[in-house]
Amino acid sequence: MRRLLPLMLVCAAPAFAQTALPPAPYADRQLEDPAQEAKATALMHTIRCLTCQSQSIADSNASMASDMRSEIRERIKRGEEPEHIRAWLIERYGDWISYKPTAEPILWPLWAAPALLLGAGGVLAWKRIRHKRKGSA
């Protein structure tokens, strides 16, 4: 039991670790300027929460996510561009933190898929139509 204790602590803590501190100023408060708030919200919906990894920071209640929301709103308020903030975060956490797909080579198949499928469908349809016409002629 004694030996297991540290292990149990490690497993238990991340889920329940919370702080008694009040949230950062702009964690749950909107910016005064609606245009800036819209920019900030759009960005927050595409930044992944570090604690609850399947959520964006806009959706997460984790304290780290609320700190990050505040950080983003304050930066937008100072006039920073959303894409600049995204780049700043990617520089530190990698592409992983952003939900917005990049143009990296690994994602080329993803971008090409719609065009390829549309092309294949077009060819199929064209062949069919030609076949039908021949049949009816």
Binding site: V10, A17, T19, A24, Q53, M64, D67, E91, W96
Partner: protein, 177 residues
């Protein structure tokens, strides 16, 4: 013949989808996010004192020729208490450890240090995870090895157990060169 083969394509596609989905279900959901700041200079931020027992921390003053550890902890973080004996051991071996307390209050940090010991030379208060974002750190506890030039050399994610001490010491030695 050709026509009947084409009819199987949707089913094959579905089976491929099923395979990918079932493999995905068994994958570890939580991934460890390593900082991309390894090899880069420590971001310089002035932090106020997190405790009455240790002085404040400015990460601008880390390039003083000798490597050190920067431990990211919090009084509300249970694994941080579990790693305290290991940090004390490191401090006894002469390792210099600075710390950042995340989203913490001075009286809580004081109580934490009195209870689990204080292996830290300086402790800065990061009330809103700012330094954490600058460091690319994603939780507590985490420990960074910073060399004498103020360059981040290594990141240990999670609690430092007795089994991690050798790695930390090796990384510190590597950071000396």
């Amino acid at each position: 013949m050709k026509r009947s083969l084409i009819l199987w394509i949707p089913l094959a596609g579905y089976l491929i989808f099923l395979l990918v989905a079932s493999l995905g279900l068994n994958r570890e959901q939580q991934t460890v996010i390593e900082s991309r700041m390894i090899g880069k200079p420590m971001p310089g931020i002035d932090l106020p004192a997190a405790s009455t027992l240790s002085p404040a921390l400015s990460t601008k003053q880390m390039a003083d020729g000798k490597p050190r550890l920067l431990n990211i902890f919090a009084s509300w973080c249970v694994p941080c208490a579990a790693e305290a004996p290991q940090l004390t051991q490191l401090a006894q071996r002469g390792v210099r450890i600075d710390a950042v307390a995340i989203r913490d209050a001075q009286k809580d940090v004081d109580a934490f240090l009195k209870r689990y010991g204080n292996p830290y030379q300086r402790i800065g208060l990061d009330a809103r995870s700012t330094l954490q974002f600058y460091l690319g750190s994603s939780g507590v506890p985490e420990t960074f090895v910073v060399d004498g030039k103020g360059i981040i050399r290594y990141q240990h994610i999670g609690y430092i157990g007795p089994q991690d001490l050798d790695t930390i010491m090796t990384k510190l030695r590597e950071a000396e060169s």
